[in-house]
């Protein structure tokens, strides 16, 4: 199939950037979206142009490295699918596809479609962990965990940290990301001792990083490749309210 892409090109953080149109010919419908960009880049290199920079690594939907706005939708038109798992068969011959980087103050553009997501790491640093230095652990069966809690914790823990939630949120909020970690650890008995400090510290770090606030619109969960539910934000809010109350 032949398509046209309009891609955000920005040579570096200080460049203003613009959309540039490219024709991509003879793409197999079985190619993935990133493979389509690979093909385009091969051509750009041989033509002496600068290839398009984009982040990607595992290409099987789990590392969370890839991500771009495709026609204004984070990770593109397929639900519960990362960009690397999106295939060209979901587009039509002759389509024009707009590709932009994640847009958020906390995710500054590095080059083209590559953004800096270290703000997510700082949120985790603030409290997204259970303090359990190596060697201090009791036997794994010392504390049984109800299956329902373990399963719910797992669901929340499947977040891949790709940033689509932030990219899609009209407020540029990272609440879904933070809420997923707060829920994952807060649902487990091992996470209880730090439950209050965790939520306070993570929210503070999130605010400091320049993410916006949540207005419960649900855009985030719609584009989340792992389907992290919006309800987790309610859980975070409840934890936060209690933690502030007790402080």
């Amino acid at each position: 199939m032949d398509i046209q892409v309009r891609v955000w090109r920005q040579s570096g953080p200080s460049d203003r950037g613009r959309m540039v149109t490219y024709d991509v010919k003879d793409i197999s419908p079985d190619a993935s979206f990133l493979e389509m960009l690979d093909v385009l880049n091969e051509k750009l290199i041989l033509d002496g142009d600068d290839p398009i920079a984009f982040d990607h690594d595992c290409r099987e939907g789990i590392c969370g490295m890839c991500g771009m706005m495709i026609n204004g939708v984070a990770h593109g038109p397929e639900r519960a699918t990362t960009t690397c798992q999106l295939h060209m068969r979901h587009f039509r011959d002759g389509d024009t596809i707009d590709i932009e980087p994640w847009r958020a103050a906390a995710f500054p553009v590095v080059k083209d479609l590559v953004v800096d997501r270290r703000a997510f790491d700082t949120i985790i640093q603030a409290g997204g962990y259970i303090t359990a230095p190596t060697g201090t652990a009791p036997d794994a069966h010392a504390t049984p965990v109800p299956k329902a809690d373990a399963d719910a914790a797992f669901e929340a823990a499947t977040c891949i940290g790709c940033g689509a939630c932030v990219a899609a949120c009209p407020n540029g909020s990272s609440m879904l990301f933070t809420a997923a970690k707060v829920a994952h650890l807060g649902l487990l008995p091992q996470g209880q001792p730090e439950r209050q400090s965790r939520v306070l510290d993570m929210i503070e770090a999130q605010d400091e990083a320049g993410f916006g606030g949540c207005t419960n619109m649900g855009e985030c969960t719609t584009v989340c490749p792992k389907g992290i539910p919006l309800t987790l934000i309610g859980r975070l809010n409840a934890d936060y309210r209690k933690a502030v109350g007790k402080r």
Partner: protein, 642 residues
């Protein structure tokens, strides 16, 4: 012999003798310790943030060392350990099914086709139980039963149920546990994290590993970093095949650069090829995706009986199908180990009976299972895998059989290390998939996660003390001649890559190299093929340095320059892999030499001649150092699955 030299044999002098059960305990007691107050004065560089590197960095920082971590991704959480699906083994014996440390040890040595060190594997089995405790304490949400206790599943090559798992995302959950422990230490200022930095050279001063040369992938700046010890946790080299289940960025550069500086590279030819991957769909293919081994519990593998049969699978009647695994291996059927299943698939495809584009695929058919169990039951068991298959191929596996084909998955070889996980360069430690230590010639399922975390959480933090106790070592700075040389070497090499300005892209070379390796150093290797491959690799490498086109400059984010450096190292590694495969005139685990097989086509080991680890020293002609493997506790036998 004209391809390599034979050097002196080597021994692992760090492992204690005596009863295997107490070797680790005795080693820990004999190892020197570092006073907590002195640990602050000692710096350790850790390259890579996967299960091994992440857990090591966190644990060393908790112990009080100053740690500086590096990864090429944008965050330590992206390391490819995250993609591991199945689970992690541990000899907990929570099932009361006869499991024990000794049985895990035995299974692992046997699974590795008797090409691993007993001492290391025993220790791995011992610390496996601590890993589960540690991970649960960190909040890893393992699957649980209704009683609230941990669930287990079975995996290939064992008769007990000892695999702990978190749905099909065990690697992700374990890595996030290590990542969170690491982020906590970063927040406390004990680890300095350098994401989007790639190690391009090892700095060796006075015979000790003292630092690395890194490139900031965003600005292109080349910097040097110094420490009292360097830990490489940079993963495996499966991407030498271009198409593999590895992440696109996985590379051999860190370990290869260390190898060039004197670290021995052991068993490079041992490659694990996973039988159930989604086949290539065309020349655009950039990577291969694994479908969990568990599918073979209910799926039946078949190809048409007649070569060149182009009919749709549904139109091929039952009596014109060949369920070849069930036919050849009646007692294990579709559940034979990975190496056997992979080779059988290759054989039927070589006979022209493969299906799908290019005839490189076999059917994995669930029609019987759906008929027997009903669609809802199959959906409950494999729903997410079926979805993933459909997402990638656009075909509905409930309606038409899946097409699968083997793909490169894991590399057992790596830098040679002793019992302390120290390479032949003092102060250079190598952990996880990057070393060669525990899996012999073939790795069992769910053992990679075990080894990575064992090395990072429990082994390295204990053994590195013994080395660091002699530190801090004399200061090194940017003007030290060895540092200047290392740095200049890196800069020259990058400039050379940029200066070629030829007419072929890096990917086109990588793809061609991968084809070559798959053809001649893949599932079946022959003397003739390997000899030919070495010539072809050398030719292609020369062409690479004459015709490659790397756009842009070195002073910016330049993903093609990154790739070019990695591919250049893959060329050198590829040659060594072929030499290693050529010299090992036996079949063992993931290494199958057509010349060494039983009359019915099974792998035939030559224990007397090749019962050793092949540790290669870098040189124009590599030098082979043999480490003889002694088996005191497990007697080598022939694996049979018929």
């Amino acid at each position: 012999m004209d391809l390599w030299n034979l050097g002196d044999p080597i021994r692992d002098t760090a492992a204690p003798d005596g009863p295997i059960e107490t070797r680790w305990e005795r080693r820990r007691f004999a190892a020197k310790l570092v006073n907590p107050a002195n640990r602050r004065k000692l710096t350790v560089i850790v390259v890579g943030t996967g299960l091994a590197g992440g857990s090591a960095a966190a644990t060393l920082a908790e112990a009080g060392y100053r740690v500086r971590s590096y990864c090429y991704q944008d965050s330590p959480r992206r390391a490819h350990s995250i993609a591991a699906q199945g689970g992690i083994n541990a000899a907990k014996n929570y099932r009361n099914d006869g499991d024990s440390i000794h049985r895990l040890f035995y299974d692992t040595v046997k699974g590795g086709d008797f090409r691993a060190r007993e001492s290391n594997v025993y220790r791995l089995a011992q610390v496996s139980v601590n890993i589960i405790d540690q991970c649960v304490a960190q909040g890893v949400p393992f699957a649980r039963e209704y009683g609230g206790l941990l669930d287990n599943r079975s995996f290939g090559g064992t008769q007990v149920s000892r695999t702990f798992y978190a749905r099909g995302q065990t690697g992700q959950q374990l890595l996030l546990g290590a990542y969170q422990a690491m982020e906590r230490q970063i927040g406390l200022g004990n680890i300095e994290m350098n994401a989007r930095h790639e190690m391009l050279e090892l700095i060796v001063v006075d015979g000790r590993a003292r630092g690395i040369v890194v490139r900031d992938l965003v600005t292109g700046e080349i910097t040097t970093d110094f420490a009292d010890a360097v830990v490489l946790a940079s993963g495996g080299y499966g991407n030498v095949f271009f198409l593999s289940t590895n992440a696109k960025g996985c590379n051999v550069t860190a370990t290869w650069r260390a190898h060039r500086k004197g670290a021995l590279f052991a068993n490079p030819c041992y490659t694990q090829i996973h039988p159930t991957c989604i086949p290539e769909s065309g020349t655009h293919q950039s990577k291969l995706t694994l479908m969990s081994e568990s599918l073979r519990n209910d799926g039946r593998v078949w190809v048409p009986l007649a070569a060149g049969d182009q009919r749709a699978p549904g139109e091929i009647p039952e009596h014109e199908r060949d369920y070849y695994l069930e036919r050849i291996y009646p007692s294990f059927g579709n559940l034979v180990p990975r190496d056997i299943a992979s080779r059988a698939a290759k054989n039927v495809c070589d006979e022209g009976r493969g299906v799908g584009p290019g005839g490189l695929g076999v059917y994995l058919d669930f029609a019987d299972a759906i008929g027997r169990l009903g669609r809802p039951a199959v959906e409950a068991k494999y729903g997410n895998l079926f979805e993933m298959y459909q997402r990638i191929t656009g075909e509905d596996p409930y309606q038409v059989p899946m097409r699968i084909y083997p793909a490169v998955h894991y590399t057992m070889g790596g830098l040679w290390v002793d019992y302390d996980l120290q390479s032949t360069i003092p102060g250079l430690f190598v952990i996880g998939e990057a070393n060669f230590s525990d899996h012999g010639a073939n790795r069992l399922g769910a053992s990679a996660l075990m080894q990575g975390l064992a090395d990072g959480y429990f082994v390295l933090p204990n053994t590195i003390n013994n080395y660091l106790a002699d530190g801090p070592f004399p200061a090194v700075d940017a003007t030290t001649p060895e540092v200047v040389a290392a740095r200049t070497g890196v800069e020259d090499r990058l400039n050379r890559l940029l200066a070629v300005d030829g007419d072929r892209t890096v990917d086109s070379f990588h793809r061609e190299l991968g084809h070559l390796m798959w053809e001649y150093c893949g599932m079946e290797r022959t003397e003739e093929g390997l000899t030919k491959a070495i010539g072809l690799i050398r030719g292609l490498r020369d062409e690479f340095w004459a015709r490659v086109k790397v756009p842009g400059t070195g002073e910016q984010l330049n993903q093609n320059l990154e790739k070019a450096g990695r591919v250049a190292d893959f060329f050198e590694l590829a040659e060594l892999m072929c030499i290693d495969a050529l010299h090992r005139r036996e079949s063992a685990g993931g290494h199958f030499r057509a010349e060494s097989q039983t009359p019915d086509g099974e792998a035939l080991r030559q224990d007397d001649e090749f019962g050793y680890v092949a540790a290669w020293e870098f040189g124009d002609r590599p030098t082979l150092h043999q480490e003889q493997l002694d088996f005191e506790y497990v007697q080598p036998s022939t694996r049979s699955y018929k």
